[in-house]
Subunit: 322 residues, 2 copies
């Protein structure tokens, strides 16, 4: 096999991370730089191309050995057309031809997919979901969403937007979500939801350590700040994390009830907080899943951690060329 | 082709309906008899076999021209093992080898599947979902659940229980559902839920025509009774149907958000009630679906109506032998 490598590039919330990946899921060379999808498309694309060139330069690899560039983007994408469909948060990207713009500059095929789907592909090929036919990956991070593997393949839906579990309603008439609707799962089970709940408590005058730890006005309270306050014994911080975990677990129950997968892999920064969110999540999953289905599924934490974005983008390339 | 026919047999809530079906979805001969899954397995199996023999006798067909018998059952089933997995409502069927018991008596292969999945297969092959790759069928009837077609094939999940949308929680701590959990979609969006809401209103002393129209103690209030009262101007009956429709529509929004199908076909007896449930269902779907996804899906009523059980069971046979 002459083309046994892929380059995976992950456009994330704070950085662009890239790696040269072989078929065994080894990252042979990596490069990370600051840029993110909130910035102007021209700047992000320039940075993606720089990142690609840095990988070539560092590794000394011949581009002829690279199958394609896998590219992950944190928003709705259409793999067939290569367009970013954008989202309410990213107006500059609306129907932007990201795939073809990057491909023209790197001179290799580029495969575009949204980040949650790539995480599912990455954990399925190289991580906790290896060998399964039907698997879901849950992103429990700044946002909340899923990627689905069905019959061993990524399932992205009719228009590529499947997996928007974070914006499923769970509390009719409930608190506002970043999407503009009310009472979505993500209004609780996400970094965005945690920050919302902190401000709600502080604005209501509740006594909490978090009052002294607020960021600049308009900024999100980091989940790590809340976790630290909880570890210092602040009951308000603990309760906020419990609620976030609980609703993440309600989402797990929906996955089991509707999709009946063999494995659910849950990853993202909030998983790293540990039992403060993990225990209420499992409790909620059991509370809201029919008991006869409890044994049908295994719930596992991610295995690939911070490498998942790169490895998922590379997995998408390897899945396509097989 | 020597074997161009299937026999579809639908074990329903009140009757067993069977038909001889050709590959174009024509029912050439049909036979219906009273028996249902709440009765003892031995009686139900005897009736299934009688029904099969009646079809052979009426049509005069040579069994050598029949590919297989498709058998639909209203509960969890495992297509690979041919077992009914049972449910809390049907203890006598727990792990009952229905497929092989029937096959031994009819002398033909039997293919067992649960009824919601067969409805999806039937509407996909012969009805409103023809030509689609990704489709959901929603049963809005005594219960509430979905069957999924993904990449043109039935998706039943890892253990065959996918599609239990009716027992997804929508109101945490809400009213009891028939499954034993609280606040499920089906506690509202089903014949069972409608009856529950009627008794709740009557027990609370609310003024309503329905008070005079209750069935024998312990019996379910028929949705048709509620629809008639609503048509006679009873605001309580109208409101109950509105709530049932609204939660059915919340379920539609979950399907769009999570599965992003091309078409959702909605069928079952409650669809026949018309705008009193249909309008709040569509309103709720829009309220709880991200606006950028509204145009991604077509919502259609079923086309096959009362024939869907038979045609779905036959479609399962034709799908397998292709």
């Amino acid at each position: 096999m002459s083309k046994q490598y892929a380059i995976g590039i992950d456009v994330g919330g704070t950085k662009i991370a890239a790696g040269l990946v072989d078929r065994a899921g080894q990252i042979l060379c990596r490069y990370t730089t600051r840029a993110h999808a909130q910035q102007q498309p021209s700047f992000v694309i320039e940075t993606i191309v720089q990142t690609y060139r840095a990988i070539l330069h560092q590794s000394g690899i011949d581009p002829a050995q690279i199958s394609a560039v896998g590219l992950g983007f944190p928003g709705n994408t259409n793999a067939r057309t290569g367009l970013v469909l954008g989202s309410s948060n990213l107006p500059a990207w609306d129907h932007f031809p990201l795939r073809d713009t990057v491909a023209a500059q790197v001179g290799l095929p580029v495969m575009l997919e949204n980040d949650a789907n790539l995480c599912a592909l990455g954990e399925h090929r190289f991580g906790a979901g290896r060998g399964t036919q039907h698997m879901c990956y849950v992103t429990f991070s700044t946002g909340y969403g899923i990627g689905m593997i069905i019959n061993g393949q990524l399932y992205a839906g009719h228009t590529g937007t499947a997996g928007e579990l974070g914006h499923v309603v769970i509390n009719i008439g409930g608190p506002p979500c970043s999407c503009g609707k009310l009472g979505c799962i993500m209004a609780y089970a996400s970094g965005i939801g945690i920050s919302r709940m902190v401000y709600e408590k502080v604005d209501a005058g509740v006594e909490t350590l978090l009052r002294e730890q607020l960021p600049a006005p308009g900024q999100r309270v980091a989940a790590e700040t809340v976790a630290l306050a909880a570890q210092q014994g602040d009951p308000v911080a603990s309760e906020i994390l419990r609620v976030a975990g609980y609703y993440a677990g309600v989402g797990l129950s929906m996955i089991v009830q509707i999709l009946n997968p063999e494995v659910i892999v849950i990853g993202g920064g909030l998983v790293n907080i540990g039992p403060l969110v993990w225990e209420p999540a499992l409790a909620a999953m059991h509370e809201h899943t029919q008991p006869e289905l409890w044994d049908s599924v295994r719930i596992m934490p991610w295995q690939l951690g911070d490498d998942l974005g790169i490895l998922g983008a590379a997995a998408n390339v390897f899945a396509e060329i097989e």
